[in-house]
């Protein structure tokens, strides 16, 4: 009889409190947004279900929770905690991304740098709000709008914040179509939004092969700590572009990235266990994260306007907003806003240049921040 009571007291119904229910609701919202709204479904659905898995109330010490040694989720979480999954995802991204838009329009690369200002301003704000330096850096990186980079840096600097930071990063990445447009409209005039960009020049195969090698060396000599992320990104791209190793690129951009995405999504979701996640800090992270995204968007746009002062061929400043990475959503938003003003204005392929440069930029920023916190 005692055993019966003991069992009943260990069911989820007995153990659940309001925090579990909140988190389960959050998980359902993630799944709903992914499926019904098509916001980054490849990430929101796994993360959403992971939130459910992490917030079914279980008795601590039983070996089920993601933070308990020896549990299955804990083993799968290893790749998050040690920062192994993000570089593997970058490998796949490299193997599926066409860098040639960026190679064709080198000056747009700078927009990808400008948008990283959001990272550093948020870092300062977080410091000012009392966060210790390592946490402030991890919060700042949310503005890089790059999930794997954010997870990588926070796993290295503030492992206990991986959950909230990843959730914030992916939430705002999913909400890019909501966050960016007002800022874009606010900071640009109609004339600016109507600027059409010249067709990008064709890029030869040799350029596309040489770039990942030299680009990797350049970035990693400057910021060695970006090595794991950028090394894999450029390596994946080299596999793709060299053609002779295409079967490896093919696997990297399908089976490998998919497996890692599943494992990362489900464990990052599960790492939001109510008692760890629902804290004041998380609230701060969410506010700062949103600010970070907005500043980054503004940074890119304003920098484009500054560049226009010096350039003969004007840049459509909307492209600056694509510098926050969030590949390829922010590029698509640029296309959308540009299109609304002028249905014949195709900005998508131009926006891919700052978009990819933004990925490289935030990986470099992560490297710099990491190297200061050690």
């Amino acid at each position: 009889m005692e055993l019966v009571l003991d069992f009943l007291s260990n069911t989820g119904f007995a153990l659940a409190d309001y925090r579990h229910l909140i988190m389960i609701a959050v998980g359902c919202v993630f799944i709903y947004l992914g499926i019904a709204k098509h916001y980054e479904p490849l990430l929101l659905v796994p993360i959403g279900f992971g939130i459910l898995m992490g917030n079914v109330p279980v008795f601590k010490g039983f070996g089920l929770g993601i933070y308990e040694r020896g549990s299955v989720l804990n083993y799968l979480y290893f790749g998050v905690r040690q920062g192994i999954y993000p570089p593997l995802i970058f490998l796949g991204i490299g193997a599926m991304t066409d860098f040639s838009y960026m190679l064709a329009q080198p000056r747009l690369i700078l927009l990808g740098a400008a948008a990283q200002i959001g990272i550093f301003i948020t870092f300062l704000c977080a410091l000012a709000l009392g966060f210790p330096a390592n946490e402030a850096a991890s919060i700042g990186i949310i503005g890089g709008a790059d999930g794997p980079t954010a997870i990588f840096l926070s796993a290295k600097l503030a492992p206990e914040l991986v959950g909230p930071i990843a959730i914030a990063a992916y939430s705002y990445m999913a909400l890019v179509p909501v966050i960016q447009p007002p800022i874009m409209k606010l900071l640009t005039t109609r004339e600016e939004r109507l600027i059409r960009m010249p067709d990008p020049r064709p890029v030869s195969k040799r350029e596309r092969i040489i770039f990942p090698v030299v680009g990797f060396l350049m970035c990693c000599f400057l910021a060695p700590a970006a090595l794991p992320l950028l090394g894999m990104l450029f390596f994946g791209n080299l596999l793709k572009e060299c053609l002779v190793a295409d079967r490896l690129a093919q696997t990297a951009r399908t089976a490998l990235i998919d497996i890692v995405t599943i494992l990362l999504g489900i464990t990052v979701g599960a790492s939001t266990q109510a008692d760890v996640f629902l804290t004041k800090k998380s609230v701060g992270i969410f506010f700062l994260g949103a600010a970070s995204f907005m500043i980054a968007t503004a940074g890119g746009i304003i920098f484009a306007k500054i560049m226009n002062i010096f350039c003969k061929t004007k840049i459509n400043p909307l492209l600056g907003a694509a510098g926050v990475s969030a590949v390829p959503d922010s590029a698509r938003v640029v296309q959308l806003i540009g299109n609304r003003e002028d249905p014949g204005n195709y900005l998508l392929m131009h926006a891919m240049a700052p978009n990819i440069a933004g990925v490289i930029g935030s990986a470099v920023a992560a490297g710099v921040l990491w190297s200061f916190m050690m």
Binding site: L110, I121, M218, C219, L243
Partner: protein, 168 residues
């Protein structure tokens, strides 16, 4: 600790300054490099071509398979433009995987998978020049590489690489 004091304590300003500088310089270097990459490559190409041109006035052949060793099989010499020669190397790679004799359809399919530009015309060129031949003795409708020929690369052809690059 809060506010500016906290920032200062954590070297916030320095880190931000350095961080922004490094991100900008990294991407500015990349930008500079990319902007000049095609120029560098073009310059190298021109240099290479001018050297080759000078050489061509003498031996007329840039690159050549080892001379026929008296076994009577290697009497034919086939001239290919550098572009066709490059294409030939790609198709050799593909056919090594497929084995010989190969069907043209399979080869074209693989070539398209690998993103080789305009494979049909390139393959047609190679067949027209006699580098790839139908191997009737072995299997009708299948093709082989022609044995016993010398491949020579001529440089007087207009380099078609740029046109190709303009397309892919």
């Amino acid at each position: 600790m809060y506010g500016l004091k906290a920032i200062q304590e954590a070297h916030g300003w320095t880190i931000t300054f350095l961080g922004v500088s490094v991100v900008f310089s990294a991407l500015a270097f990349l930008s500079l490099f990319v902007a000049n990459l095609s120029r560098i490559l073009n310059f190298l190409d021109v240099a290479k071509r001018s050297i080759l041109e000078r050489l061509k006035s003498k031996p007329e052949v840039l690159q050549e398979a080892p001379a026929p060793q008296g076994n009577g099989h290697r009497e034919v010499r086939i001239w290919l433009s550098p572009h066709d020669h490059e294409m030939m190397r790609y198709f050799e790679l593909i056919t090594q995987k497929l084995g010989e004799p190969f069907s043209l359809e399979e080869v074209l399919e693989k070539a398209q998978d690998r993103g080789i530009p305009r494979p049909h015309s390139a393959l047609y060129n190679l067949i027209k020049k006699g580098v790839i031949v139908e191997c009737r003795d072995k299997a009708m409708g299948y093709y082989c590489w022609k044995r016993g020929i010398d491949i020579a690369v001529s440089s007087d052809d207009k380099s078609p690489e740029r046109e190709v690059a303009a397309e892919d």
